[in-house]
């Protein structure tokens, strides 16, 4: 996911970005107001992504991923909304305006979570994150799991494409109507999942062979620059997060 760019956001310490990511998330979920999530996306996440020079990438991926969500949520909410103003009537369907509005509001939260984490993973090197987490006292095995999970998406895509090609060359039909495509899913997803499970064992051997469980104090090849300013900033974020949570609870009482 990571895209290498020379930007101020890229150079921030990974922990600063971790805290910022969670702070924005909590802000979007804790603060009152129907359109808060959209405001955070427009006023904080988008400007940050422009600073990090990844705005087009962020926009494109968020759009691609949220579109199917958006369509299904809006359809279902508007069609199954009890009473309200019908947008139009057609046969047995009468989508309600209130339902659609509710759907758009809830979508804001989904898009916020997505774009927030996306911004983080587009601008943070996974290995730098791993080192930063370990330096902050996290056990190396948990840091490793977090980081490799972040990397799993591109690796799955690559494997998926290989399996797709292999199955196609054996005559699997992957194009056509919805039914044909759905049927093609099983012989593609099954080897992908099973293959990944089998890989785990070899991966475990490989990292063990490279002294992953060694009791020595670990060092790191790359240096992760940190500043006093960022340390102070992280303290501020932590306090803000704490206040947001308190506020979110009180406001809901």
């Amino acid at each position: 996911m990571y895209i290498a760019r020379a930007s101020g956001l890229h150079q921030l310490h990974p922990l600063t970005k971790v805290l910022l990511t969670f702070c924005l998330l909590i802000a979007g979920l804790a603060l009152p107001g129907n359109w808060t999530s959209y405001l955070i996306i427009l006023l904080v996440i988008f400007p940050l992504s422009v600073w990090g020079k990844v705005f087009p990438n962020l926009l494109r991926i968020t759009w691609l991923v949220s579109l199917p969500f958006a369509i299904s949520v809006i359809l279902i909410q508007s069609l199954f909304w009890g009473t309200g103003t019908p947008l139009f009537e057609f046969w047995i369907f009468a989508p309600k305006l209130e339902g659609a509005r509710y759907a758009v509001i809830s979508l804001g939260k989904i898009i916020l979570v997505m774009s927030d984490f996306l911004l983080f993973s587009l601008t943070t090197r996974p290995d730098a994150l791993m080192i930063a987490l370990k330096q902050a006292g996290m056990p190396s095995s948990i840091a490793y799991i977090i980081v490799t999970t972040l990397q799993i998406v591109p690796s799955f895509q690559r494997k998926g494409a290989t399996i797709l090609d292999a199955q196609r060359s054996r005559g699997l039909e992957t194009e056509g109507n919805l039914f044909v495509r759905a049927k093609a899913l099983v012989p593609i997803v099954l080897p992908l999942v099973l293959g990944s499970l089998m890989e785990v064992e070899e991966r475990a051997i490989a990292i063990e062979a490279r002294a992953f469980n060694s009791r020595q104090t670990e060092t790191s090849l790359i240096e992760i620059p940190d500043t006093q300013l960022q340390k102070n900033f992280r303290t501020v974020i932590l306090i803000v997060m704490f206040l947001l949570i308190i506020f979110g609870i009180l406001w809901r009482l």
Binding site: Q151, E202, R210, A211, E218
Partner: protein
């Protein structure tokens, strides 16, 4: 006392019905380069895992006998300590990429970071190891963007950089072209000459004959033959037991039947075959 000492090693995987290694006895001296040959399922990989400590520590199962390296028994040592002296690289290079690193250079650093090598020393060791295996120009590439052969070189380099006393390799050149294979065998030969002990499971008879000190032929989990490459690889026993023999050996064997091959011993490599056929 031999550097590696295996006595009465019998091992069965937890889910298997029969032992995959049966009563293996083997002594290997320091600095020796030993090749292990055998069909799929003969126990080559398991023998590699046993030397590298993963049998029995990682795979569990029924283990009996002794595997001793440098005077320490594997069953007495913790795996985390064992791997500091014994390096393992295996066949599938893709699964040997840590998945936590961004460039080849950093990927190779993974092991050194784990054992706490200082940054400057780490850099010089990685550079030296990459130069040795011929991947210096791949330093800034993503390990996932490489070809299978290149990934195998990265996997090998990642282990070499940790400077193990014993290097265990399970078909480390399976995805390389002949030129690449030759280069890697030459590198391993040099390492062995400078004192590193090498045990390698491999199919490529010609390269074994050119570079290894000794060959061990495994069949059904037992040692069938053991000796100098030229003796083992041209042996009738090997041919009778369905081992793939080099095309030069089989050509000369046919020639021998027709009285066209005058030498007593059969060739394994191209050079030996040419030399033998020239002799009238």
């Amino acid at each position: 006392m031999a550097f590696i000492n295996i006595q009465n090693l019998t091992y069965q995987y937890p889910t298997a019905k029969a032992p995959v290694l049966q009563n293996i006895n083997l002594q290997i001296n320091e600095g020796e380069f030993v090749a292990v040959i055998g069909a799929n399922g003969a126990g080559k990989s398991t023998l590699c895992y046993a030397l590298a400590g993963f049998v029995p520590h990682f795979f569990k199962g029924e283990f009996s006998g002794v595997v001793e390296v440098n005077g320490i028994q594997s069953s007495q040592a913790a795996l985390a300590e064992w791997v500091l002296n014994v390096g393992l690289a295996f066949q599938n290079p893709f699964n040997q990429i840590s998945g936590a690193k961004y460039t080849v250079f950093e990927e190779i650093a993974f092991g050194l970071e784990n054992i706490g090598v200082e940054r400057e020393q780490m850099k010089s060791r990685i550079e030296a190891a990459m130069k040795l295996t011929g991947i210096a120009e791949l330093a800034d590439r993503s390990p996932y963007s490489l070809s299978g052969g290149q990934q195998q070189r990265v996997a090998l380099t990642s282990i070499l950089v940790m400077q193990p006393k014993l290097l265990v390799l399970d078909e480390p050149t399976s995805q390389m072209d002949p030129i690449g294979t030759r280069e890697i065998f030459a590198v391993i030969r040099d390492l062995s000459n400078s004192g590193m002990t090498v045990v390698m499971a491999e199919h490529k008879m010609e390269w074994i004959a050119n570079f290894a000190d000794r060959v061990i032929a495994l069949k059904d989990g037992q040692i069938l033959l053991e000796g100098k490459p030229n003796e083992v690889l041209t042996s009738d026993v090997l041919a009778e037991n369905g081992f793939g023999i080099s095309r030069y050996t089989s050509t000369a064997r046919e020639a021998q039947k027709r009285n066209l091959w005058k030498k007593d011993s059969l060739p394994v490599t191209l050079e030996e075959a040419v030399e033998g056929f020239r002799r009238k």
